[in-house]
């Protein structure tokens, strides 16, 4: 699927640019995007190093296990393949909480830590996404931000009478999509089981 999407975007992009007679834009777009990608990764170094240090402390102090225990029933249902008290559970909870609070730049490192922990459980299949990883990413991408600060700012800028009146609808939309994500995840997991063997 990702192979197809990737190839499709490149081929269609080059074809359309050729037809429109602005093929030179492809080179520029490719190099600019590559540059952006490296910038993003480099800027991750600082924040990753910082949060990995804090998370290691939290782990050694037993805080992550405590957090995992608090939300165990829900997590057991969502991630049946992850052993209880595993650090992955705590990291997932931290990531989702950071997302909900709208702490974008703290949510990402927490998410990467969660992935690292999930990868430890993915023995022998390091290049393939595990079911728990798919569930986690589905929850993550459809996750609520209680305060979508950026968009509220833009609404304010353009003279909205009540810039925050979209918060309620946003939360409802997200909640709905999270429920559907969990349901579809189970369905796809069932369909894809055979191929993983």
């Amino acid at each position: 699927m990702v192979n197809l999407v990737w190839l499709g975007m490149i081929i269609l992009g080059i074809l359309v640019a050729g037809i429109n007679g602005n093929i030179e834009i492809v080179t520029k777009a490719a190099l600019d995007s590559a540059n952006d990608a490296v910038k993003i990764s480099i800027s991750l170094i600082a924040i990753m190093t910082f949060w990995l240090g804090i998370m290691k402390l939290a782990e050694e102090a037993g805080l992550i296990r405590m957090l995992a225990r608090l939300v165990r029933p829900v997590m057991r249902f969502l991630f049946p393949s992850v052993p209880k008290d595993h650090p992955a559970m705590g990291a997932i909870v931290m990531n989702l909480s950071a997302n909900i609070l709208g702490l974008g730049n703290a949510a990402t490192p927490m998410g990467l830590i969660a992935m690292r922990e999930l990868q430890k459980l993915n023995r022998g299949r390091e290049d393939t996404a595990s079911e728990a990883m798919c569930t986690f990413l589905a929850l993550n991408t459809s996750c609520v931000t209680l305060i979508p600060t950026t968009i509220i700012g833009i609404r304010l800028l353009y003279g909205s009478a009540d810039p925050t009146d979209i918060v309620g609808p946003t939360i409802m939309a997200t909640a709905f999509s999270m429920v559907v994500a969990v349901f579809v995840d189970r369905l796809l997991r069932f369909i894809y089981t055979d191929r993983r063997g």
Binding site: L12, N22, I40, G111, T141, A173
Partner: protein
């Protein structure tokens, strides 16, 4: 309610920074050494994401800059009109899973053109706020641990984006 939440956001990280080392110290963890020990992996984790992000962002960049994006929007608009999705927000709907910055740009443009309190303005605000950039998150998260085979997660991500879209239209229409 909003004040409480924004106050909570402001305090969340400082509180974590205070509580975690404090509890660790009380449990006789060597705080400084443990922090450094954990932090060591930060560099490699970030660097590991480079090839994955370059691959994905280049493809998205070409697709967008070439105008292929607009072609896709034009092709899809009759289909989505049937569902009741206004054509004006279609570019945003398609861009949202691909590029966070670009989607935000389209959203602000719609808000500017139609007004923040119009149906379209509210709809695009809700759409922008209620989901994340699926391809970016997938690439970054899987890339950091070296996962290359995404299995069904791309489909799953897109289905959840589509759900958010449909739910947003429905909710905004009912709510306002």
């Amino acid at each position: 309610m909003l004040d409480i939440i924004s106050e909570l956001s402001r305090w969340a990280i400082p509180v974590v920074l205070l509580v975690v080392p404090l509890v660790a110290a009380l449990r006789r963890v060597k705080v400084y050494e443990t922090f450094v020990d954990g932090a060591e992996a930060g560099f490699t984790t970030a660097i590991k994401t480079i090839p994955y992000l370059v691959a994905m962002l280049v493809a998205i960049g070409i697709f967008r800059a070439s105008g292929a994006m607009e072609v896709l929007v034009k092709t899809l608009s009759p289909v989505l009109n049937i569902v009741g999705l206004p054509t004006e927000v279609l570019p945003h709907a398609i861009m949202r899973p691909l590029s966070g910055g670009a989607a935000l740009g389209i959203a602000s443009d719609i808000i500017k053109t139609y007004g923040p309190d119009s149906f379209l303005g509210r709809l695009v605000s809700t759409m922008q706020g209620s989901c994340d950039t699926t391809f970016y998150v997938l690439t970054l998260y899987f890339g950091s641990v070296g996962v290359r085979k995404y299995r069904y997660s791309v489909i799953l991500g897109l289905i959840s984006d589509l759900t958010t879209l449909v739910a947003s239209v429905f909710i905004v229409r009912t709510f306002f």
